[in-house]
Amino acid sequence: MSAMEYAKELDLRNLPCPMPVVKISKGIKEVAVGQIVKAVTTDPGALTDFPAWAKTSGNQIVETQEASGEVRFFIKRLK
């Protein structure tokens, strides 16, 4: 598993709907364009929600890691 550098980490584990998407939408605005946010979630639906959110909001998921029942998204702010 690569050790990707990131500017901010968001713990989105076990949050109710729709907080993972709400918090990543807010969190991505707290880093500079080009920087990366690491978001950790346990939602099975996140594996569809996050790519759809990235496409809609114009950001980029640069890496997805799955381990120990968690999914870690590394998301680059593009605009």
């Binding site: 594996l47 929600d49 759809a52 496409k55």
Partner: protein, 416 residues
């Protein structure tokens, strides 16, 4: 406000003027019976939180552009033009109303403030002044519907991870998939939310009842309805309708999400399947003897989600379930029709911490009601309500446990 925008907003307003809406706009006698019925007003007695006041914000704009007196002598007709300040008033009115319709129960004419607020929300969308996060959430849902093949594999991986947790709670027969997906000809399509808590207990109970079910690829929640966009609401719902038709199911079961239940039941149109809430399905399993349960200790009360109960008529089923699975059940309100709204609906919970202060201040009466029930556990059947009740519990120091009804039922299951 530029004239072209104002003209566009008047056009949007006109699209909402059904006969029902005209009745809502032209009938109010200002009797004031709705005023103390609103949880926001009852918690914070400010005139702007009176349902009739909220409605009046929209009604005066209606009078300005759709009545003769308003058009030709607006000063005489209590008419108000569409301005930037009027938009701000519309925003305050629309997003301080949860659409619980408790005021409607008290109104002698049955004026539907929630429906009037749908005009306010539509005008805010037209002016690009709707809450950004709600619009984004709706767009994400629509994007998933347009590109489901792209996202399908990831979802299936996520679901696979949950299967051991389902089997740990209820063993399935060899060769049976604990969380089935893409089952053509299944009796039931279950539409959940993104979180495991919305899938695991439901799967456990379906398997215990030997239901022939399949899990939807889509989340049930309809953010189009929260933001008040009729077009997006329908697009988000249509994803589920198309999936149900493709699989040929007899029934679409919506998870514990109040808005999702109401939208799917009321807007799916005439289809070869029927739409039911998870609570109704669970009550049916108990009625038909398809599952066996034990009684759980502790005192429990039930919070009626407004979209499922007052706006959807599901009052008896949760009580039938609780009557079978808990030793001590206590009503919050002598008549569930008058149960207070939790204060989290209408998109307020989905707007997160931005609305937390208002949500807590406006839910004082709900906190009092929960405290007075003297129950240890508050049970509900809606994701939004659950989040809001957790927030209320912490804010007011109630010391209660908040549980989903489906989770409680899964805990109460016993082997046949």
């Amino acid at each position: 406000m530029e004239a072209s925008l104002r003209d566009e907003l008047v056009r949007l307003f006109d699209t909402k003027l059904s006969r029902q809406m005209l009745l809502n706009l032209e009938t109010c006698s200002r009797c004031g019976l709705c005023t103390p019925a609103c949880h926001a007003y009852a918690s914070m007695p400010l005139p702007k939180y009176a349902p009739a006041f909220r409605a009046e914000v929209v009604r005066r704009i209606y009078k300005r552009y759709f009545t003769a007196l308003g058009r030709f002598a607006p000063v005489l007709g209590e008419a108000k033009p569409l301005t930037d300040a009027a938009l701000e008033e519309l925003r305050e009115a629309a997003y301080s109303c949860t659409g619980c319709r408790r005021c409607m129960v008290y109104c002698p004419f049955g004026i539907d403030t929630q429906q009037i607020m749908s005009i306010a929300k539509l005008l805010l969308i037209g002016a690009e002044a709707a809450p950004e996060i709600l619009s984004l959430l709706a767009d994400v849902s629509i994007s998933k519907g347009e590109s489901i093949e792209t996202f399908k594999e990831g979802f299936l991986q996520g679901i696979k991870r949950l299967e051991t947790q389902v089997v740990a709670r209820w063993k399935v027969e060899a060769g049976t998939t604990p969380i089935p997906t893409e089952v053509e000809g299944a009796d039931m399509l279950y539409v959940a939310l993104a979180g495991a808590h919305s899938i695991i207990p439901a799967a456990v109970v379906f398997n215990a009842a030997r239901e022939n079910w399949t899990l939807s690829f889509f989340e049930a929640v309809n953010f189009g309805a929260f933001v008040g966009d009729p077009g997006k609401t329908q697009l988000i719902l249509d994803r589920i309708v198309r999936e149900a038709l493709r699989l040929g199911v007899k029934e679409v079961c919506i998870c514990e999400c109040g808005t999702a239940v109401r939208v799917a039941k009321q807007l799916s149109g005439t289809q070869p399947f029927r739409v039911v809430s998870l609570t109704e399905v669970h009550a049916r399993y108990l009625r038909e003897g398809r599952i066996r349960v034990k009684k759980l200790p502790g005192s429990h009360t039930y919070h009626d989600p407004c979209q499922i109960a007052r706006n959807g008529g599901v009052y008896d089923e949760p009580r039938a379930i609780l009557g079978r699975i808990v030793e001590d059940f206590r009503e919050m309100s002598p008549d569930p029709k008058y149960n207070w709204c939790c204060g989290g609906g209408g998109g307020l919970v989905a707007m997160g911490e931005d609305t937390l202060d208002f949500r807590m201040r406006s839910s004082r009466v709900k906190a009092d009601q929960i405290r007075e029930s003297r129950a240890d556990v508050v049970v509900t059947a809606c994701e939004n309500c659950h989040t809001q009740l957790e927030n209320i519990n912490a804010h007011y120091g109630l010391g209660k446990e908040v549980k989903f009804l489906s989770s409680l039922l899964a805990d109460a299951l016993v082997a046949p």
